[in-house]
Amino acid sequence: MEFKVRAYRFNPETDEKPYYKEYTVEDYPGMTVLNALIKIKSELDGTLSFRRSCRSAICGSCAMKINGITKLACKTQVSLEIDKFGIINVEPLANMPVIRDLIVDQEVFFDKIKAIKPYLLGQREDAAHNIFKTLKEGEKISQPVYDKSEFKNLTGNEDTPNCILCECCYSECGGVVGNKDYLGPAALAKLYRYVEDPRDIDKNGSRLVNGSMPNGFWDCVHCQSCEQFCPKGISPVKSIVKLHEKSIKNSITFSSGSKHVVSIARSIGETGRLDEIKVAFESGGVTGLLNDLPVAFGAGLKGKIPPLRLKLIKDMEDIRLAYKELDLEDKL
């Protein structure tokens, strides 16, 4: 069966703006989109440019938009795409500048990975005897002992160390769309990986403080795209939420995002209701309040004015019990 591939083309040396070029390819059972692109390149048009390497969804080179959705070309079956869309549309990843055709500039993405300091900041003391040695005849080596549970968030098959840095999440990230300086899901998932590492002496220290700065994990817009589009089944947004939880548990609450969460918790805990004015003030201070004024004014015109005094709800006792259960009493 023949099918069509419609490829985004752009060469900065010759093209003023991008265009699309169509190719007709012969299908075979099990053909992937990457196979199709390779066939085009070797048989029809050597100028079509894309990154590729392992063919088996582990190197992360061939992420691109296929029929509008960010995927790895190597693990996308042609037949499934054709059944759904009748064509294979390929375009470069979003949120990064295009260098040529399907190739984007990844420098900023990797700079953000570097920014979170993706390595152990130091060693826990009981691991310090890990000094290299060459064994003599009959000699054994003793190894540090870690309980399985210490690595429980790092050894599951959908845990963050399985990230291949393919940039699918980054391409689909709503947070990056709104703020190009936002670190993005992959870098923050990596941050979480090191926060969870039992060997790191920084446990719950500077990593959470730095990650709470502007462009850090409080800038996630919770659109869930990173989870939806991850080809390895990892959920960066879950890691981000855990970073939120850990920060608040460790009273790292200087960011407006964390103040917002704490303020909401307090408001519900005190009255069972959301005190919107107070939450706006406690999250952003006077400036925050002023920034929210146009919104509040618009809402007021529609008759949506939050009450200045909140009445306690009837079931306050249940809320107190729930807070006690969640160990949140100290946040009240």
Partner: protein
Amino acid sequence: MLKHDVVIVGAGLAGLRAAVELRKKGIDVVIVSKVYPTRSHSGAAQGGVNAAFDENDSWESHFFDTVKGSDYLGDQDAIEILTSEAPGNILELQSMGVVFNRNDKGGIAQRPFGGQSFPRSCYYADAVGHMMLHGLFDNVLKYKTKILYEYFVTSLLTDNGKVSGVVAYDIKNGKFEGIAAKAVLFATGGYGQVYSSNTNALINTGDGMAISINAGVPLMDMEFVQFHPTTLKSTGILVTEGARGEGAYLLNSLGVRFMSKYAPKAMELAPRDVVARAEQTEINEGRGVDGAILLDIRHLGKERIMERLPQIMQLSIDFEGVNPIHEPIPIRPGAHYSMGGIKTDYNGRTAIEGYYSAGESACVSVHGANRLGGNSLLDTVVFGRRAGIDIAEYLKSAAEDRKFDESAIKRDEEKFEQLKKSAGKERHGLLKSELQEEMRANVGVFREENAMKKALDKIGELKERAKNIGIDDKSKTFNTDIVEAFEFSNILLIAEVITRGAILRKESRGAHYRTDFPERDDSNWLKHTLATLDGKGNIKFDFSEVAITKFKPQPRTY
């Protein structure tokens, strides 16, 4: 022109491990790689990395298993280093941030692997290469290492008998760059792309080996190519030996565990050469299933598969349309690993002063005629580390007594420009496919003189046709067309070295099996083959002794 003390070419495990060793000492290093480091093919290694930790295991046992696995062609002094330094290396990696699964005692979990007499393969589910690659890359970032990524190295330069640097093509903008250095390490990986149906990445085109032989450095034991017994039938994608380590069965069309016939004791966990030949025999004798063998892990149960082999499950579903929880996986042997490579000693040194190699691109030789599963990752870190240490030592005394020949930059640039101008009609992508298919058919699992001579004729024909390669892409920005054309010239050269070496070696040893010479012949062939080019560019061979220190060659049965 750039200038650094050390250039490391290749950013897989061996290159990164060496870089960390050098950067820890504050040495000026640049890593040059044709892909971003985390795209390197080390990341695709799945099953494990060997080291003797258990109180009932010993590194000496690992030493012997590796010598026997190599069919006695491995150099025993080097294998002793590999195995006695293995546990220390693994613990060092762990302290650098690499995560391994844990056993019930809180130590590193280990699984059985082929040809190993004890379960000693440390793992991170079925993605240990990925874990190690990313862990080491993180350390390279920690030590703020300069990385030139998407640079394709085209030449190795020497002067005064010493290495003087490399020439590299910046794929992003088409500019050639000279990088002068006192030490150069090639950690450029293997040549799986010589064969069709291989487990390798498309980038594994033997570039470092081809550049080396062109620069006068001998390639050793290149005829020894490992065919992995379990690669997905349709795509050649790797299915880890860890599957068999966890207890998988190999079945033929009669539903029989046929390994009982070929390796009654080790069964599915015999070394790869033995299993690959057994499978091919079953297929050739009509007991295959559509040209494949079945790998059955159903009896392990869903929970264990999800915990230990999650990647295998996903790859089988995505690439073969088979869910291994419910159905056996169709597999067949596929080209996997290059035992041969750039001849080095156990410190990574080559025939040229200041020039080093480590990892799959190198041949120390610790794998001899057949590598055991779980020993390649170990090789990368043990000898990557050692090369780093030796380079640091070398720099202390290395003098500035060599000039970087800047005309070489112009020369390589001219070569690229000439090729771009060519009006030839041959397409390198198609020539590559023809070569790969020829090599699979005639220089594969089973070899025989006449078939290999046919392959040699084909290589000759392709060399002629390669003179008429045309390049569609004339631009400078990310011109992968021209890079692939040069990669093709590299695999063509490597294919010829493999084939000539295989014709020359008139015996069967490890992965090199000659149907016309089915026995191992220690009296004539217990020696390494060394390939170099003569003045006219023809391949010629010398031999060198195998280091035998502790274990005299014995018949090899499993």
